[in-house]
Amino acid sequence: MSSKALNLRHQVIRIYKELLYLGREYPLGYDYFRSRLHKAFASQANLKDEDQIKKGIERAEFVKKEIEALYYLKRYRILRQRYEKT
């Protein structure tokens, strides 16, 4: 395996771990999140083309941002309901 491919491999593992960490707070439960995350990554495991892999990593980063936004909004809405809707 070339060093470039190895580097991409690390990037994929890193984003996978970050997403797993995020999943601990997922509203539907960690198990739900983890199995789906695993499936999503496993389905792309056959990718060989570097550009394709990079695109996959970008998509994972996008999903990460979406989940963070989801957590923020969920909390904001609950707090607003508790403290501002009297």
Partner: protein, 254 residues
């Protein structure tokens, strides 16, 4: 303008998503085995401090402070993962909680030791909902205060704070040193990501005990009883308009 030395006090509270339960003796809320996290209003204050730095203001240092059980350290790590430079943890025995005045007294000494000139606090914690610590600290230090901030801007030595009040906003202007407490719409706190949590483990965290402070933090209040709110009563269906009018009259609404 002079450099900003920001102090951000944070509190470890029961997570907002957890429904609190009252213990059998009806003396307190059950905390054992319950998920805890940083008070959401304190996340807003850390975020605001970090954003001041990102706006290229001369922020010298952001210090996170927490007085709580040993596990409050995790909260300080989260604060440092979000961007605080270092943490100060005052260990309080599990089950013994400080009152707002006690915390304010500790904070006063920390402010003097650290030479802070800006303290950003959450307006209240979601467990006690006291909404007092910032105000009391301002009183003890004799500093100006801007509570429930929804926007903070700096111009030279002037700080302009928009604060949320009933039915609108109020704009205040003050000079440093200053106390700010945060309201819900001040900013959108970032998520403390895994790599940043890892990096935060290398940031310095000072451990202190109450013996390091010359403050009387003994409780002044006694909790007599804690009870659940009364359960919501179900509504009733009425057959027709007359039935509804009858019901409304019965309730004294007409």
């Amino acid at each position: 303008m002079s450099g900003l030395r920001i102090l951000v006090p944070v509190k470890r509270v029961i997570d907002y998503a957890v429904k609190p339960r009252i213990n059998r003796a009806n003396t307190a809320v059950e905390t054992a085995g319950v998920k805890h996290s940083m008070n959401p209003f304190d996340e807003l204050s850390i975020e605001e401090a970090v954003r001041l730095r990102e706006r290229k203001l001369p922020v010298e240092e952001i210090v996170a402070f927490s007085a709580g059980p040993p596990k409050a350290q995790d909260i300080l790590r989260t604060a440092m993962a979000m961007g605080a430079d270092r943490g100060i943890h005052v260990t309080i025995e599990e089950g013994k909680e400080l009152e707002p005045l006690g915390v304010a007294k500790l904070l006063k000494q920390v402010v003097q030791e650290e030479k802070s000139n800006l303290v950003i606090l959450g307006k209240q914690s979601i467990d006690d909902d006291a909404n007092q610590t910032g105000q009391m600290l301002a009183g003890l230090l004799n500093w100006p205060q801007a509570t429930q901030a929804s926007k903070v801007t700096f111009e030279g030595d002037d700080v302009t704070v928009m604060r949320e009040v009933d039915g609108g906003v109020e704009t205040l202007k003050a000079k440093l040193p200053l106390i700010i407490t945060t309201d819900l719409r001040l900013n959108e706190p970032r998520y403390a990501s895994l790599p940043n949590i890892m990096k935060a483990k290398k940031k310095p965290l000072a451990k202190k005990t109450l013996a390091d402070f010359e403050a009387d933090v003994s409780p002044r209040l006694k909790t007599l009883k804690v009870t659940e709110p009364p359960p919501r009563k179900g509504g009733v269906k009425v057959e027709d308009v007359d039935g509804m009018i009858g019901k409304l009259k019965e309730l004294g609404a007409l």
